[in-house]
Protein backbone atom coordinates (compact mmCIF):
# COMPACT_ATOMS: atom_id res chain seq x y z
CA UNK A 1 0.00 0.00 0.00
CA UNK A 2 1.30 3.41 -0.86
CA UNK A 3 0.51 6.31 1.38
CA UNK A 4 1.47 9.92 1.27
CA UNK A 5 4.34 9.41 3.65
CA UNK A 6 6.13 12.68 3.46
CA UNK A 7 6.65 15.44 5.92
CA UNK A 8 7.23 19.06 5.07
CA UNK A 9 10.35 20.03 6.95
CA UNK A 10 10.70 23.72 7.74
CA UNK A 11 13.51 25.80 6.29
CA UNK A 12 16.24 26.20 8.89
CA UNK A 13 18.03 29.45 9.56
CA UNK A 14 21.35 29.83 11.39
CA UNK A 15 20.15 28.95 14.90
CA UNK A 16 18.08 25.99 13.88
CA UNK A 17 20.69 24.61 11.50
CA UNK A 18 22.80 23.47 14.45
CA UNK A 19 19.97 21.12 15.41
CA UNK A 20 19.58 19.46 12.03
CA UNK A 21 19.82 15.67 12.09
CA UNK A 22 18.43 12.87 14.19
CA UNK A 23 17.70 13.36 17.90
CA UNK A 24 19.97 10.41 18.61
CA UNK A 25 23.03 11.99 17.04
CA UNK A 26 22.32 15.27 18.74
CA UNK A 27 21.86 13.51 22.07
CA UNK A 28 25.26 11.89 21.69
CA UNK A 29 26.95 15.22 21.05
CA UNK A 30 25.24 16.79 24.05
CA UNK A 31 26.10 13.83 26.26
CA UNK A 32 29.79 14.14 25.43
CA UNK A 33 29.59 17.85 26.12
CA UNK A 34 27.88 17.31 29.48
CA UNK A 35 30.29 14.54 30.44
CA UNK A 36 33.32 16.70 29.71
CA UNK A 37 32.01 19.23 32.22
CA UNK A 38 30.94 16.71 34.87
CA UNK A 39 33.10 13.77 35.85
CA UNK A 40 30.18 12.05 37.58
CA UNK A 41 28.55 11.36 34.23
CA UNK A 42 29.06 7.88 32.81
CA UNK A 43 28.01 6.62 29.41
CA UNK A 44 26.80 3.03 29.80
CA UNK A 45 26.58 1.29 26.44
CA UNK A 46 24.98 -1.98 25.38
CA UNK A 47 26.62 -2.33 21.98
CA UNK A 48 24.52 0.39 20.40
CA UNK A 49 27.14 1.21 17.79
CA UNK A 50 28.80 4.60 17.46
CA UNK A 51 29.34 5.38 21.13
CA UNK A 52 32.73 3.65 21.07
CA UNK A 53 33.97 6.32 18.67
CA UNK A 54 31.59 9.10 19.68
CA UNK A 55 32.18 8.85 23.41
CA UNK A 56 34.68 6.22 24.54
CA UNK A 57 37.44 7.54 22.30
CA UNK A 58 37.16 10.92 24.06
CA UNK A 59 36.35 9.98 27.66
CA UNK A 60 37.32 6.33 28.21
CA UNK A 61 37.18 6.62 32.00
CA UNK A 62 33.55 7.72 31.82
CA UNK A 63 32.46 4.94 29.49
CA UNK A 64 31.60 1.29 29.94
CA UNK A 65 30.18 -1.15 27.42
CA UNK A 66 28.41 -4.09 29.04
CA UNK A 67 27.68 -5.80 25.76
CA UNK A 68 24.28 -7.00 24.63
CA UNK A 69 22.92 -7.44 28.13
CA UNK A 70 20.24 -4.91 29.00
CA UNK A 71 19.14 -6.43 32.30
CA UNK A 72 22.72 -6.40 33.55
CA UNK A 73 23.17 -2.87 32.22
CA UNK A 74 20.33 -1.55 34.40
CA UNK A 75 21.75 -3.23 37.51
CA UNK A 76 25.29 -2.06 36.76
CA UNK A 77 23.96 1.48 36.30
CA UNK A 78 22.12 1.33 39.62
CA UNK A 79 25.38 0.25 41.24
CA UNK A 80 27.28 3.09 39.57
CA UNK A 81 24.66 5.61 40.66
CA UNK A 82 24.68 4.32 44.23
CA UNK A 83 28.43 5.00 44.23
CA UNK A 84 27.98 8.61 43.14
CA UNK A 85 27.93 8.45 39.35
CA UNK A 86 25.25 9.75 36.97
CA UNK A 87 24.90 6.97 34.42
CA UNK A 88 23.38 7.59 30.98
CA UNK A 89 22.11 4.20 29.92
CA UNK A 90 21.92 3.57 26.19
CA UNK A 91 19.64 1.04 24.57
CA UNK A 92 16.62 0.62 22.33
CA UNK A 93 13.38 1.60 24.02
CA UNK A 94 11.66 -1.75 23.97
CA UNK A 95 14.74 -3.48 25.42
CA UNK A 96 14.67 -1.07 28.36
CA UNK A 97 10.94 -0.94 28.96
CA UNK A 98 10.06 -4.56 28.43
CA UNK A 99 13.17 -6.76 28.59
CA UNK A 100 14.87 -4.95 31.46
CA UNK A 101 11.73 -3.57 33.09
CA UNK A 102 12.24 -5.33 36.40
CA UNK A 103 15.78 -4.03 36.83
CA UNK A 104 14.54 -0.51 36.03
CA UNK A 105 11.75 -0.92 38.54
CA UNK A 106 13.60 -2.46 41.48
CA UNK A 107 17.24 -1.46 41.07
CA UNK A 108 16.80 2.05 39.65
CA UNK A 109 13.33 3.46 40.35
CA UNK A 110 12.69 1.99 43.79
CA UNK A 111 16.04 3.35 44.97
CA UNK A 112 15.31 6.72 43.35
CA UNK A 113 18.77 6.66 41.79
CA UNK A 114 19.83 9.31 39.25
CA UNK A 115 20.09 6.98 36.29
CA UNK A 116 19.15 8.50 32.92
CA UNK A 117 17.73 5.80 30.67
CA UNK A 118 18.07 7.35 27.22
CA UNK A 119 16.41 5.15 24.67
CA UNK A 120 16.17 5.32 20.90
CA UNK A 121 13.78 3.62 18.48
CA UNK A 122 10.76 4.97 20.40
CA UNK A 123 7.35 4.22 18.90
CA UNK A 124 7.49 3.03 15.32
CA UNK A 125 10.75 4.83 14.55
CA UNK A 126 12.54 1.54 13.96
CA UNK A 127 10.29 1.42 10.87
CA UNK A 128 10.94 -1.57 8.65
CA UNK A 129 12.99 -3.34 11.36
CA UNK A 130 9.67 -4.77 12.44
CA UNK A 131 7.69 -5.12 15.64
CA UNK A 132 10.48 -6.69 17.71
CA UNK A 133 12.16 -3.28 17.55
CA UNK A 134 9.08 -1.10 17.87
CA UNK A 135 8.23 0.38 21.26
CA UNK A 136 4.50 1.00 21.49
CA UNK A 137 3.94 0.35 25.19
CA UNK A 138 7.13 1.81 26.66
CA UNK A 139 5.65 5.09 27.91
CA UNK A 140 2.72 3.28 29.53
CA UNK A 141 5.03 0.90 31.36
CA UNK A 142 7.66 3.39 32.46
CA UNK A 143 5.27 6.03 33.73
CA UNK A 144 3.84 3.58 36.26
CA UNK A 145 7.23 3.37 37.97
CA UNK A 146 7.32 5.62 41.03
CA UNK A 147 10.06 8.29 41.04
CA UNK A 148 10.51 8.05 37.26
CA UNK A 149 10.37 11.20 35.13
CA UNK A 150 9.34 10.39 31.54
CA UNK A 151 10.30 12.77 28.74
CA UNK A 152 9.48 12.33 25.05
CA UNK A 153 11.18 15.21 23.20
CA UNK A 154 9.70 16.45 19.94
CA UNK A 155 12.98 17.23 18.22
CA UNK A 156 16.71 17.73 18.65
CA UNK A 157 16.20 21.14 20.28
CA UNK A 158 13.95 19.68 22.94
CA UNK A 159 16.27 16.70 23.34
CA UNK A 160 19.12 19.01 24.26
CA UNK A 161 16.98 21.09 26.60
CA UNK A 162 15.65 17.95 28.30
CA UNK A 163 19.18 16.59 28.78
CA UNK A 164 20.59 19.83 30.12
CA UNK A 165 17.70 20.41 32.52
CA UNK A 166 17.84 16.93 34.06
CA UNK A 167 21.54 16.42 34.82
CA UNK A 168 21.04 17.24 38.49
CA UNK A 169 17.50 15.89 38.89
CA UNK A 170 17.71 13.65 41.97
CA UNK A 171 15.77 10.65 40.66
CA UNK A 172 15.70 8.51 37.52
CA UNK A 173 14.72 9.88 34.11
CA UNK A 174 13.53 8.02 31.02
CA UNK A 175 14.17 10.00 27.83
CA UNK A 176 12.61 8.47 24.73
CA UNK A 177 14.07 9.40 21.36
CA UNK A 178 13.30 8.36 17.82
CA UNK A 179 15.81 6.77 15.52
CA UNK A 180 15.77 8.60 12.20
CA UNK A 181 16.04 12.28 11.40
CA UNK A 182 12.76 14.11 11.93
CA UNK A 183 11.82 17.74 11.19
CA UNK A 184 12.44 20.41 13.78
CA UNK A 185 9.36 21.55 15.66
CA UNK A 186 11.14 24.34 17.49
CA UNK A 187 12.66 26.87 15.13
CA UNK A 188 13.62 29.40 17.75
CA UNK A 189 14.82 29.27 21.36
CA UNK A 190 12.01 28.79 23.90
CA UNK A 191 11.48 28.32 27.58
CA UNK A 192 11.76 24.65 28.57
CA UNK A 193 10.93 23.22 31.97
CA UNK A 194 10.44 19.60 32.97
CA UNK A 195 6.73 19.02 33.53
CA UNK A 196 5.54 22.13 31.69
CA UNK A 197 3.78 21.84 28.33
CA UNK A 198 5.02 24.01 25.48
CA UNK A 199 2.29 26.14 23.85
CA UNK A 200 3.22 25.51 20.21
CA UNK A 201 0.23 27.15 18.50
CA UNK A 202 -2.58 29.27 19.96
CA UNK A 203 -6.27 28.46 19.53
CA UNK A 204 -9.50 28.53 21.54
CA UNK A 205 -11.76 26.10 19.68
CA UNK A 206 -10.09 22.76 20.29
CA UNK A 207 -6.81 21.46 21.78
CA UNK A 208 -4.29 19.07 20.28
CA UNK A 209 -1.81 17.52 22.72
CA UNK A 210 1.16 15.68 21.24
CA UNK A 211 4.45 14.16 22.31
CA UNK A 212 7.32 12.79 20.29
CA UNK A 213 8.83 13.94 16.99
CA UNK A 214 6.34 12.97 14.29
CA UNK A 215 3.15 13.26 16.36
CA UNK A 216 4.12 16.81 17.36
CA UNK A 217 4.99 17.71 13.79
CA UNK A 218 1.65 16.35 12.60
CA UNK A 219 -0.17 18.29 15.32
CA UNK A 220 1.37 21.53 14.08
CA UNK A 221 0.46 20.65 10.49
CA UNK A 222 -3.11 19.95 11.59
CA UNK A 223 -3.25 23.36 13.26
CA UNK A 224 -2.48 25.04 9.93
CA UNK A 225 -5.12 23.03 8.08
CA UNK A 226 -7.75 23.63 10.73
CA UNK A 227 -6.98 27.35 10.64
CA UNK A 228 -7.76 27.32 6.93
CA UNK A 229 -11.25 26.04 7.81
CA UNK A 230 -11.69 28.63 10.50
CA UNK A 231 -10.97 26.37 13.48
CA UNK A 232 -8.53 27.60 16.09
CA UNK A 233 -6.62 24.60 17.41
CA UNK A 234 -4.37 25.09 20.41
CA UNK A 235 -1.33 22.81 20.16
CA UNK A 236 0.41 21.75 23.34
CA UNK A 237 3.76 19.99 23.11
CA UNK A 238 3.66 17.58 26.04
CA UNK A 239 7.32 16.58 26.19
CA UNK A 240 7.04 15.49 29.82
CA UNK A 241 4.50 12.71 30.09
CA UNK A 242 5.33 12.28 33.77
CA UNK A 243 4.88 14.44 35.75
CA UNK A 244 2.32 15.76 33.28
CA UNK A 245 1.28 19.44 33.12
CA UNK A 246 -2.07 19.31 34.91
CA UNK A 247 -2.65 23.07 34.76
CA UNK A 248 -2.25 23.27 30.99
CA UNK A 249 -4.64 20.34 30.50
CA UNK A 250 -7.25 21.67 32.90
CA UNK A 251 -7.10 25.05 31.17
CA UNK A 252 -7.52 23.38 27.78
CA UNK A 253 -10.42 21.27 29.04
CA UNK A 254 -12.12 24.36 30.39
CA UNK A 255 -11.64 26.70 27.46
CA UNK A 256 -11.84 24.53 24.32
CA UNK A 257 -14.30 21.99 22.94
CA UNK A 258 -12.13 19.01 23.73
CA UNK A 259 -8.69 17.44 23.41
CA UNK A 260 -7.16 15.32 20.66
CA UNK A 261 -4.09 13.41 21.81
CA UNK A 262 -1.48 12.29 19.30
CA UNK A 263 1.25 9.77 20.04
CA UNK A 264 3.34 7.03 18.45
CA UNK A 265 2.26 4.55 21.12
CA UNK A 266 -0.71 2.33 21.87
CA UNK A 267 -3.79 4.28 22.78
CA UNK A 268 -3.89 2.80 26.28
CA UNK A 269 -1.68 4.06 29.05
CA UNK A 270 0.53 6.52 27.19
CA UNK A 271 0.00 10.22 26.57
CA UNK A 272 -3.70 9.77 25.77
CA UNK A 273 -4.23 7.73 28.90
CA UNK A 274 -2.38 10.25 31.02
CA UNK A 275 -4.45 13.13 29.62
CA UNK A 276 -7.68 11.21 30.34
CA UNK A 277 -6.57 10.58 33.92
CA UNK A 278 -6.06 14.30 34.45
CA UNK A 279 -9.22 15.66 32.85
CA UNK A 280 -11.50 12.96 34.26
CA UNK A 281 -10.41 13.93 37.75
CA UNK A 282 -10.10 17.69 37.38
CA UNK A 283 -12.21 18.94 34.50
CA UNK A 284 -14.04 16.31 32.44
CA UNK A 285 -14.09 17.00 28.71
CA UNK A 286 -14.21 15.00 25.51
CA UNK A 287 -10.94 13.39 24.52
CA UNK A 288 -10.12 11.69 21.25
CA UNK A 289 -6.99 9.56 21.46
CA UNK A 290 -4.98 8.93 18.30
CA UNK A 291 -2.44 6.14 18.53
CA UNK A 292 -1.92 2.50 17.71
CA UNK A 293 -4.86 0.19 18.37
CA UNK A 294 -5.00 -2.81 20.66
CA UNK A 295 -3.52 -5.40 18.31
CA UNK A 296 -0.01 -6.54 17.48
CA UNK A 297 1.02 -4.27 14.68
CA UNK A 298 3.13 -6.29 12.27
CA UNK A 299 2.81 -4.23 9.11
CA UNK A 300 6.02 -3.61 7.15
CA UNK A 301 6.88 -0.05 6.25
CA UNK A 302 8.65 3.14 7.14
CA UNK A 303 7.84 5.03 10.32
CA UNK A 304 5.54 7.44 8.50
CA UNK A 305 3.79 4.69 6.56
CA UNK A 306 3.23 2.72 9.74
CA UNK A 307 1.91 5.73 11.64
CA UNK A 308 -0.45 6.44 8.77
CA UNK A 309 -1.68 2.84 8.84
CA UNK A 310 -2.18 3.10 12.59
CA UNK A 311 -4.32 6.19 12.11
CA UNK A 312 -1.80 8.74 13.29
CA UNK A 313 -1.83 11.33 10.54
CA UNK A 314 -2.58 14.99 9.92
CA UNK A 315 -5.90 14.03 8.28
CA UNK A 316 -7.03 12.02 11.29
CA UNK A 317 -6.10 14.83 13.67
CA UNK A 318 -8.05 17.33 11.55
CA UNK A 319 -11.04 14.96 11.44
CA UNK A 320 -11.03 14.33 15.18
CA UNK A 321 -10.61 18.02 16.01
CA UNK A 322 -13.42 18.97 13.67
CA UNK A 323 -15.78 16.42 15.21
CA UNK A 324 -14.99 17.72 18.70
CA UNK A 325 -15.68 21.30 17.56
CA UNK A 326 -19.05 20.31 16.14
CA UNK A 327 -19.96 18.95 19.58
Amino acid sequence: MTVDATLTPPALDGWAQTYAGACREHYRRVLLDLARADRRIMCVDSDMGGLEDGFAAHLPEQYVNVGIAEANMMGVSAGLAAAGRIPYVNTISTFAATRACEQMKIDIASNNLPVRVVVTHGGLSAGHYGPTHHALEDVAIVRTLPNMTVIVPADAVETELALRSTVDLPGPVFIRLGRAETPLVHLAPYDFAVGRAVPLRPGDDVTIVASGPIPTHLAVEAHERLAASGIGARVLGMHTVKPIDVDALVAAAGSTAGIVTVEDHVRTGGLGGAVCEVVSEHRPCRVHRLGVGDAFFDVVGSELELLHDAGVSTERIVEAATVLCRG
Binding site: A69, G79, A82, A83, G84, Q103, N111
Partner: protein, 274 residues
Protein backbone atom coordinates in the same frame (compact mmCIF):
# COMPACT_ATOMS: atom_id res chain seq x y z
CA UNK B 1 44.07 -13.48 63.20
CA UNK B 2 40.46 -14.39 63.43
CA UNK B 3 39.07 -15.24 66.87
CA UNK B 4 37.31 -18.44 65.90
CA UNK B 5 35.73 -18.92 69.32
CA UNK B 6 34.16 -15.48 69.07
CA UNK B 7 32.91 -16.14 65.53
CA UNK B 8 31.38 -19.47 66.57
CA UNK B 9 29.59 -17.75 69.43
CA UNK B 10 28.23 -15.02 67.14
CA UNK B 11 27.13 -17.58 64.53
CA UNK B 12 25.17 -19.37 67.26
CA UNK B 13 23.42 -16.14 68.28
CA UNK B 14 22.64 -15.40 64.64
CA UNK B 15 21.13 -18.87 64.14
CA UNK B 16 19.06 -18.39 67.29
CA UNK B 17 17.61 -15.17 65.88
CA UNK B 18 16.89 -16.85 62.53
CA UNK B 19 14.88 -19.54 64.34
CA UNK B 20 13.05 -16.84 66.29
CA UNK B 21 12.08 -15.10 63.05
CA UNK B 22 10.99 -18.48 61.71
CA UNK B 23 8.67 -18.70 64.69
CA UNK B 24 7.01 -15.40 63.80
CA UNK B 25 3.46 -15.56 62.43
CA UNK B 26 4.78 -15.18 58.86
CA UNK B 27 7.62 -17.69 59.10
CA UNK B 28 10.78 -17.22 57.07
CA UNK B 29 13.21 -18.82 54.65
CA UNK B 30 14.81 -20.85 57.42
CA UNK B 31 16.86 -23.33 55.37
CA UNK B 32 18.69 -20.81 53.20
CA UNK B 33 19.17 -18.40 56.10
CA UNK B 34 20.80 -21.09 58.25
CA UNK B 35 23.02 -22.24 55.36
CA UNK B 36 24.31 -18.68 54.90
CA UNK B 37 24.71 -17.92 58.61
CA UNK B 38 28.40 -18.78 58.89
CA UNK B 39 29.30 -16.93 55.69
CA UNK B 40 27.49 -13.80 56.90
CA UNK B 41 29.01 -14.09 60.37
CA UNK B 42 32.54 -14.22 58.95
CA UNK B 43 31.86 -11.42 56.49
CA UNK B 44 30.37 -9.01 59.04
CA UNK B 45 32.59 -9.88 61.99
CA UNK B 46 35.89 -10.49 60.22
CA UNK B 47 35.97 -9.26 56.64
CA UNK B 48 33.83 -6.21 55.85
CA UNK B 49 35.19 -2.76 56.66
CA UNK B 50 31.98 -1.09 57.76
CA UNK B 51 30.93 1.39 60.43
CA UNK B 52 27.65 0.44 62.10
CA UNK B 53 27.33 3.95 63.54
CA UNK B 54 27.87 5.45 60.08
CA UNK B 55 26.19 3.05 57.60
CA UNK B 56 26.73 5.42 54.65
CA UNK B 57 30.47 5.91 55.27
CA UNK B 58 31.84 6.41 51.73
CA UNK B 59 34.88 4.20 52.33
CA UNK B 60 32.82 1.19 53.39
CA UNK B 61 33.00 -2.19 51.78
CA UNK B 62 29.70 -2.82 50.02
CA UNK B 63 27.62 -5.89 50.75
CA UNK B 64 24.71 -7.07 48.61
CA UNK B 65 22.57 -10.03 49.66
CA UNK B 66 21.49 -11.13 46.21
CA UNK B 67 19.65 -14.10 47.70
CA UNK B 68 17.35 -11.64 49.46
CA UNK B 69 15.13 -14.43 50.77
CA UNK B 70 17.81 -15.08 53.40
CA UNK B 71 16.75 -11.78 54.96
CA UNK B 72 16.45 -13.31 58.42
CA UNK B 73 20.17 -14.13 58.35
CA UNK B 74 20.95 -10.58 57.22
CA UNK B 75 18.80 -8.97 59.94
CA UNK B 76 20.35 -11.22 62.55
CA UNK B 77 23.90 -10.33 61.53
CA UNK B 78 23.13 -6.62 61.12
CA UNK B 79 21.71 -6.63 64.63
CA UNK B 80 24.70 -8.57 65.92
CA UNK B 81 27.11 -6.11 64.31
CA UNK B 82 25.30 -3.07 65.72
CA UNK B 83 23.46 -1.75 62.66
CA UNK B 84 20.12 -2.56 64.28
CA UNK B 85 18.81 -2.87 67.78
CA UNK B 86 18.63 -6.66 68.31
CA UNK B 87 15.16 -6.14 69.76
CA UNK B 88 13.95 -5.04 66.32
CA UNK B 89 14.29 -8.63 65.09
CA UNK B 90 11.13 -9.38 67.06
CA UNK B 91 9.17 -7.11 64.68
CA UNK B 92 9.98 -9.31 61.67
CA UNK B 93 7.01 -9.45 59.28
CA UNK B 94 4.77 -7.24 61.40
CA UNK B 95 2.76 -4.38 59.97
CA UNK B 96 4.98 -1.30 59.85
CA UNK B 97 8.19 -3.18 60.62
CA UNK B 98 11.37 -2.44 58.67
CA UNK B 99 12.05 -6.17 58.47
CA UNK B 100 10.33 -7.73 55.47
CA UNK B 101 10.61 -11.19 54.00
CA UNK B 102 13.07 -9.65 51.54
CA UNK B 103 15.25 -6.70 52.61
CA UNK B 104 13.98 -3.15 52.20
CA UNK B 105 16.27 -0.38 51.09
CA UNK B 106 15.55 1.86 54.04
CA UNK B 107 17.22 -0.44 56.54
CA UNK B 108 20.64 0.79 57.79
CA UNK B 109 23.37 -1.35 56.27
CA UNK B 110 21.29 -2.43 53.27
CA UNK B 111 22.61 -1.01 50.01
CA UNK B 112 19.80 -2.30 47.79
CA UNK B 113 16.45 -4.00 48.18
CA UNK B 114 16.88 -7.55 46.92
CA UNK B 115 14.85 -10.67 46.57
CA UNK B 116 14.03 -10.86 42.91
CA UNK B 117 16.84 -13.23 42.01
CA UNK B 118 19.51 -12.40 39.49
CA UNK B 119 19.89 -8.70 40.31
CA UNK B 120 22.61 -8.56 42.96
CA UNK B 121 25.71 -9.35 40.97
CA UNK B 122 24.93 -6.64 38.39
CA UNK B 123 24.60 -4.14 41.24
CA UNK B 124 27.93 -5.39 42.57
CA UNK B 125 29.59 -4.92 39.17
CA UNK B 126 28.37 -1.31 39.03
CA UNK B 127 29.53 -0.56 42.57
CA UNK B 128 32.92 -2.19 42.02
CA UNK B 129 33.45 -0.36 38.74
CA UNK B 130 32.65 3.04 40.25
CA UNK B 131 34.84 2.40 43.32
CA UNK B 132 37.75 1.30 41.17
CA UNK B 133 37.48 4.25 38.80
CA UNK B 134 37.32 6.57 41.80
CA UNK B 135 40.54 5.00 43.05
CA UNK B 136 38.93 3.87 46.30
CA UNK B 137 40.14 0.74 48.09
CA UNK B 138 36.64 -0.35 49.14
CA UNK B 139 35.59 -3.84 48.08
CA UNK B 140 32.27 -5.34 47.06
CA UNK B 141 30.84 -8.66 48.27
CA UNK B 142 27.73 -10.25 46.82
CA UNK B 143 26.16 -13.38 48.31
CA UNK B 144 24.15 -15.42 45.83
CA UNK B 145 22.07 -18.52 46.20
CA UNK B 146 22.98 -21.56 44.14
CA UNK B 147 19.49 -21.93 42.66
CA UNK B 148 19.73 -18.23 41.80
CA UNK B 149 22.51 -19.07 39.35
CA UNK B 150 19.79 -20.42 37.04
CA UNK B 151 18.83 -16.80 36.31
CA UNK B 152 20.47 -15.78 33.04
CA UNK B 153 21.12 -12.24 34.22
CA UNK B 154 23.62 -13.61 36.75
CA UNK B 155 25.79 -14.79 33.89
CA UNK B 156 25.54 -11.43 32.14
CA UNK B 157 27.03 -9.96 35.30
CA UNK B 158 29.60 -12.77 35.58
CA UNK B 159 30.79 -11.94 32.07
CA UNK B 160 30.91 -8.23 32.83
CA UNK B 161 32.81 -8.62 36.11
CA UNK B 162 35.52 -10.64 34.40
CA UNK B 163 35.64 -8.51 31.28
CA UNK B 164 36.06 -5.35 33.35
CA UNK B 165 38.75 -7.00 35.47
CA UNK B 166 37.05 -6.18 38.77
CA UNK B 167 39.32 -7.79 41.35
CA UNK B 168 37.63 -5.66 44.02
CA UNK B 169 34.48 -7.74 43.51
CA UNK B 170 33.82 -11.06 45.24
CA UNK B 171 30.82 -13.30 44.73
CA UNK B 172 29.98 -15.86 47.40
CA UNK B 173 27.74 -18.72 46.36
CA UNK B 174 25.79 -20.35 49.18
CA UNK B 175 26.05 -23.79 47.61
CA UNK B 176 23.54 -25.64 49.79
CA UNK B 177 22.39 -27.80 46.90
CA UNK B 178 18.66 -27.20 47.29
CA UNK B 179 15.92 -25.09 45.82
CA UNK B 180 12.18 -25.18 46.46
CA UNK B 181 11.28 -28.13 44.31
CA UNK B 182 14.26 -30.34 45.09
CA UNK B 183 18.00 -30.46 44.63
CA UNK B 184 19.56 -28.05 42.18
CA UNK B 185 21.00 -30.96 40.26
CA UNK B 186 17.55 -32.51 39.76
CA UNK B 187 15.91 -29.21 38.97
CA UNK B 188 18.46 -27.50 36.69
CA UNK B 189 21.97 -28.81 37.14
CA UNK B 190 24.73 -26.34 38.05
CA UNK B 191 27.77 -28.58 38.14
CA UNK B 192 30.58 -28.41 37.31
CA UNK B 193 30.11 -25.10 39.05
CA UNK B 194 33.71 -24.07 39.73
CA UNK B 195 34.65 -24.77 36.14
CA UNK B 196 31.74 -22.68 34.93
CA UNK B 197 32.93 -19.65 36.89
CA UNK B 198 36.56 -20.11 35.93
CA UNK B 199 35.60 -20.57 32.28
CA UNK B 200 33.93 -17.15 32.52
CA UNK B 201 37.18 -15.66 33.83
CA UNK B 202 36.69 -15.64 37.59
CA UNK B 203 39.17 -16.97 40.15
CA UNK B 204 37.28 -19.61 42.11
CA UNK B 205 37.86 -20.97 45.59
CA UNK B 206 35.87 -23.85 47.01
CA UNK B 207 35.47 -23.95 50.75
CA UNK B 208 33.42 -25.64 53.43
CA UNK B 209 30.94 -22.87 54.14
CA UNK B 210 30.58 -23.89 57.78
CA UNK B 211 34.32 -24.17 58.54
CA UNK B 212 34.94 -20.79 60.15
CA UNK B 213 38.77 -20.84 59.94
CA UNK B 214 38.58 -21.97 56.30
CA UNK B 215 36.09 -19.21 55.48
CA UNK B 216 38.34 -16.63 57.16
CA UNK B 217 41.31 -17.82 55.15
CA UNK B 218 39.33 -17.82 51.91
CA UNK B 219 38.38 -14.16 52.42
CA UNK B 220 41.80 -13.12 53.75
CA UNK B 221 43.46 -14.40 50.59
CA UNK B 222 41.44 -12.16 48.28
CA UNK B 223 42.06 -11.10 45.60
CA UNK B 224 42.96 -14.52 44.23
CA UNK B 225 44.33 -13.20 40.97
CA UNK B 226 45.11 -9.63 39.93
CA UNK B 227 42.56 -8.31 37.46
CA UNK B 228 40.09 -11.09 38.09
CA UNK B 229 37.02 -11.09 40.32
CA UNK B 230 36.86 -13.87 42.88
CA UNK B 231 34.13 -16.34 43.67
CA UNK B 232 33.93 -18.27 46.92
CA UNK B 233 31.91 -21.41 46.38
CA UNK B 234 30.79 -22.09 49.92
CA UNK B 235 29.68 -25.70 50.23
CA UNK B 236 26.93 -25.49 52.81
CA UNK B 237 24.10 -27.51 54.30
CA UNK B 238 20.59 -26.20 53.95
CA UNK B 239 19.13 -25.74 57.43
CA UNK B 240 22.57 -26.03 59.00
CA UNK B 241 22.59 -26.15 62.78
CA UNK B 242 19.19 -27.72 63.38
CA UNK B 243 19.22 -31.38 62.47
CA UNK B 244 15.50 -31.56 61.79
CA UNK B 245 15.97 -28.94 59.06
CA UNK B 246 19.28 -30.10 57.62
CA UNK B 247 19.16 -31.19 54.00
CA UNK B 248 15.38 -31.27 54.06
CA UNK B 249 13.43 -29.95 51.14
CA UNK B 250 10.76 -28.70 53.53
CA UNK B 251 13.20 -26.46 55.38
CA UNK B 252 13.12 -23.94 52.51
CA UNK B 253 10.36 -21.91 54.14
CA UNK B 254 9.17 -22.71 57.62
CA UNK B 255 6.67 -21.20 60.02
CA UNK B 256 7.65 -22.78 63.30
CA UNK B 257 4.89 -23.77 65.70
CA UNK B 258 5.67 -23.28 69.38
CA UNK B 259 6.43 -27.01 69.69
CA UNK B 260 8.68 -26.99 66.64
CA UNK B 261 10.38 -23.85 67.92
CA UNK B 262 11.24 -25.61 71.20
CA UNK B 263 12.61 -28.62 69.33
CA UNK B 264 14.61 -26.43 66.97
CA UNK B 265 16.16 -24.38 69.78
CA UNK B 266 17.02 -27.53 71.71
CA UNK B 267 18.58 -28.97 68.58
CA UNK B 268 20.55 -25.80 67.98
CA UNK B 269 21.86 -25.78 71.56
CA UNK B 270 22.82 -29.44 71.34
CA UNK B 271 24.67 -28.85 68.08
CA UNK B 272 26.53 -25.82 69.42
CA UNK B 273 27.94 -27.91 72.30
CA UNK B 274 29.48 -30.44 69.96
Amino acid sequence: MADIGFLAERAHVIRTRIIEMGASHTGTHVGGSLSAADVLTVLYHHVLRVRPDEPGWPGRDRFVLSKGHASAALYAVLADRGFLDPGECATYGEHGSRLAGHPLRRLPGVEFPTGSLGHGLSLGVGLALALRRDGLPARVFVVLGDGELQEGSVWEAVMAGAHLGLDNLTAVVDRNGWQISGTTEECMALEPLAQRWTAFGWAAREVDGHDLPALCTAFEELPYAPGRPGVVLARTTKGRGVSLFENRKKSHYVTLTPALYQRAMAGLRARSRT
